[in-house]
């Protein structure tokens, strides 16, 4: 199974056609086509203001989806990510308001994020508790903890220099979008060309085979979770600096949106396959759909049903594709 999967992602003789039908290209096409269609129905959708809102408001989802992709590729899952983003954003905001140096209030959440996730990874890898149980438990600990500590208060009066989106490169590319693009490219290159990155695929594809190849699946899982914590930390800062206030609640079911981005981006839920380029495209597509619903006068209350439908569609397509490929190989 994993040999097939890895083989296909590295295959050099990948035909032109196959490359065109890859998840990343399909998603990019979907993003463009949706923009054209919705723009034709309601031209205001294509205004620079709206497009920039889509990117600025969702860069953090894309960044978090990078880490989530790694976790899923390694054969695990994390549903605590939404709650953790809420906790880290609150830490960051509280520090900024309390007068700590801005750089420190950006740095500490990343460290805490890595620590919390690495701890979960260690429990999963070394104590052999399924990731779903560990992260479900952590989700409620973090969520309950955040509401109890903050009492539901919002953080306001954030210093101006705290807001990342005020920083723009060349006057057009705001910092959050730049971070999203940079993180995606770096993570994609690292996962494709470096040994620890390849180890993630090997562990998710076939943990036993990976072990026999000299990879430590346990260490890899802890590493994956630690990295996921790193990206979660960055995502939390993007989330915290996006608006003028930080609420003590994150968008409900944020973890679902992030998992949707990773899965729709082509990360196979069976482990071993997927790219972070796909997950970033998927995050943009999901945000675009949510925005498009409003512009074609469909109630935004339907967005979660769309998300669920998208996950189901991608997963079923992935499973059927694999089944056909396996059938083709045995012929």
């Amino acid at each position: 199974m994993s040999a097939v999967a890895i083989g296909s992602s590295v295959a050099s003789r990948a035909s032109w056609l196959r490359r065109l039908s890859s998840q990343e290209v399909l998603l990019a096409l979907a993003i463009v086509i949706l923009a054209i269609v919705v723009g034709a129905i309601n031209p205001r959708f294509l205004l620079a203001r709206n497009l920039s809102d889509i990117f600025l408001g969702n860069a953090y989802v894309a960044v978090a989806a990078i880490g989530m992709s790694m976790v899923i590729i390694s054969g695990n899952i994390d549903i605590s990510v939404g709650a953790l983003i809420g906790v880290l954003a609150t830490i960051s905001g509280t520090m900024a308001v309390a007068g700590y140096p801005i750089a420190l209030s950006w740095f500490v959440p990343i460290v805490v994020g890595v620590a919390v996730m690495a701890l979960q990874g260690a429990v999963v890898a070394y104590l052999r508790i399924p990731a779903i149980v560990v992260t479900l438990g952590m989700l409620s600990i973090l969520k309950g903890g955040l509401i109890s500590v903050t009492g539901g208060r919002w953080i306001s009066d954030l210093p101006d220099s705290f807001h990342l989106s005020n920083i723009e490169l060349f006057g057009i590319l705001p910092m959050p979008v730049l971070i999203m693009i940079g993180a995606t490219i770096l993570a994609a290159i690292w996962m494709r060309n470096f040994a620890p990155g390849r180890a993630i695929y090997a562990t998710g594809g076939n943990s036993e085979a990976a072990r026999l190849c000299g990879i430590s699946p346990r260490a890899t899982i802890v590493m994956v979770f630690a990295l996921h914590g790193f990206f979660t930390g960055i995502a939390a800062i993007l989330f915290a600096t996006e608006l003028r206030v930080i609420q003590s609640t994150v968008p409900p079911n944020l973890e679902l949106t992030i998992i949707t981005a990773a899965v729709v981006g082509g990360v196979s839920i069976l482990g071993g396959v997927g790219t972070v380029v796909g997950s970033t495209f998927a995050a943009i597509l999901i945000a675009e759909i949510a925005s498009a619903l409003v512009f074609v006068s469909i109630s935004p209350y339907w967005i979660r049903a769309v998300q669920g439908g998208l996950i189901l569609l991608t997963v079923v397509a992935d499973i059927l594709r694999r089944r056909r490929r396996v059938a083709g190989d045995s012929r």
Binding site: I79, L136, G137, L139, K143, G144, I269, Y301, G308, L312
Partner: protein
């Protein structure tokens, strides 16, 4: 489980004493005593019956969830099914003009259908249960939100509140319902071919298949049952809180799974009892209540439930180190 029968009588007693459920029952009694000593309102019949009322909604779902987890699966969508069924009940009654008993039937049927769809994808397309039910968690909640457009339904007739607020022979109505569900689930799991097949599937699905068990049909039944019970739970919940909202049942999966796992059902499948789940349920409810009575706020209690979930899994797995890594 089967080892028990084969062991000599004196060993049996020793094994019974060290069983997860027995240990848990002992912990429960100690916890009851401590909470009772701290707060004299705790160990009153009124309070305990009231806690039973609050426990019913999660408890009803915990029965089929025990089945699901024993087969090695999981159902994360139960909370969303509760929301979907609550909306179906309220919407079909208020907006479509269906008589209330009919609306209840529609809600239950929709719950069963939601579970059936989960089961269908899990058995036919072979979508892993975790991912399938994450997808349907989003999907079903999305339907509930989309159909209701965030509006609530209230103003049910008086008789409808009997299920959620009434008493029957001195105990809350839904507690009787839960009692019946527990007995049926317990007998089904322990004394029927269906129940024993669940253990076989959870221990080794391939072997179960080769032994001629209708694995797919059993799994389909189990997930359908899970949806149906979530529907019944929605009915009880709507009747208790007198209103219907699309955000009903959010987070139920945590409470339900925590109760089942705390009750000694292995998250890896293959072992577990209804008896254990009942103790797990009671413990979680009393923990919540005890904390509330000692002044801990509602939000903080979910911290405790999360911790209990992780800790009990850790304990259970250290008690039986037998599963392969990554399983």
């Amino acid at each position: 489980m089967t080892v028990l029968a084969a062991a000599p009588p004196e060993r049996r007693v020793a094994r019974w004493l060290t069983r997860h459920e027995t240990l848990l029952a002992a912990v429960l009694i100690v916890a009851l005593a401590i909470l009772g000593a701290y707060n004299d309102r705790f160990l009153t019949l009124d309070n305990l019956l009231n806690q039973g009322r609050l426990m019913a909604e999660v408890g009803l779902i915990a029965m089929p969830m025990t089945f699901v987890i024993i087969t090695g699966g999981i159902d994360l969508s139960v909370g969303s099914v509760v929301g979907l069924c609550a909306i179906a009940l309220g919407y079909s009654w208020k907006n479509l003009g269906v008589p209330l008993p009919g609306a209840i039937v529609i809600a239950l049927a929709l719950g069963a259908l939601a579970g059936f769809v989960n089961g269908l994808f899990i058995t036919r397309v072979k979508v892993p249960p975790l991912i399938m039910t994450i997808a349907s968690l989003a999907l079903y909640r999305g339907f509930a939100e989309g159909v209701s457009q965030g509006r609530s339904v209230r103003g049910y007739p008086e008789w409808f509140y009997f299920m959620g607020q009434g008493d029957w022979f001195g105990a809350p109505t839904q507690l009787w319902l839960l009692g019946v569900a527990i007995v049926i689930a317990g007998v089904a799991l322990d004394r029927t071919t269906f129940g024993r097949s669940l253990y076989a599937i959870g221990s080794n699905e391939t072997a179960a298949r080769f032994s001629g068990l209708p694995v797919d049909r059993i799994k389909l039944a189990v997930y359908t049952l899970s949806g149906l019970m979530a529907g019944i739970s929605a009915w009880v919940l709507v009747s208790r809180v007198t209103t219907t909202r699309s955000d009903m049942g959010i987070g139920y999966e945590l409470d339900v799974i925590a109760a089942v796992v705390l009750g000694g059902t292995s998250i890896f499948g293959g072992s577990g009892t209804i008896w254990g789940t009942v103790i797990g349920l009671v413990m979680i409810q009393l923990l919540k209540d005890g904390l509330a009575l000692t002044g801990v706020k509602g939000d903080a209690t979910i911290i405790v439930i999360g911790t209990v979930l992780i800790a009990s899994t850790l304990l259970a797995s250290s008690l039986q180190k037998r599963r392969e890594f990554g399983g």
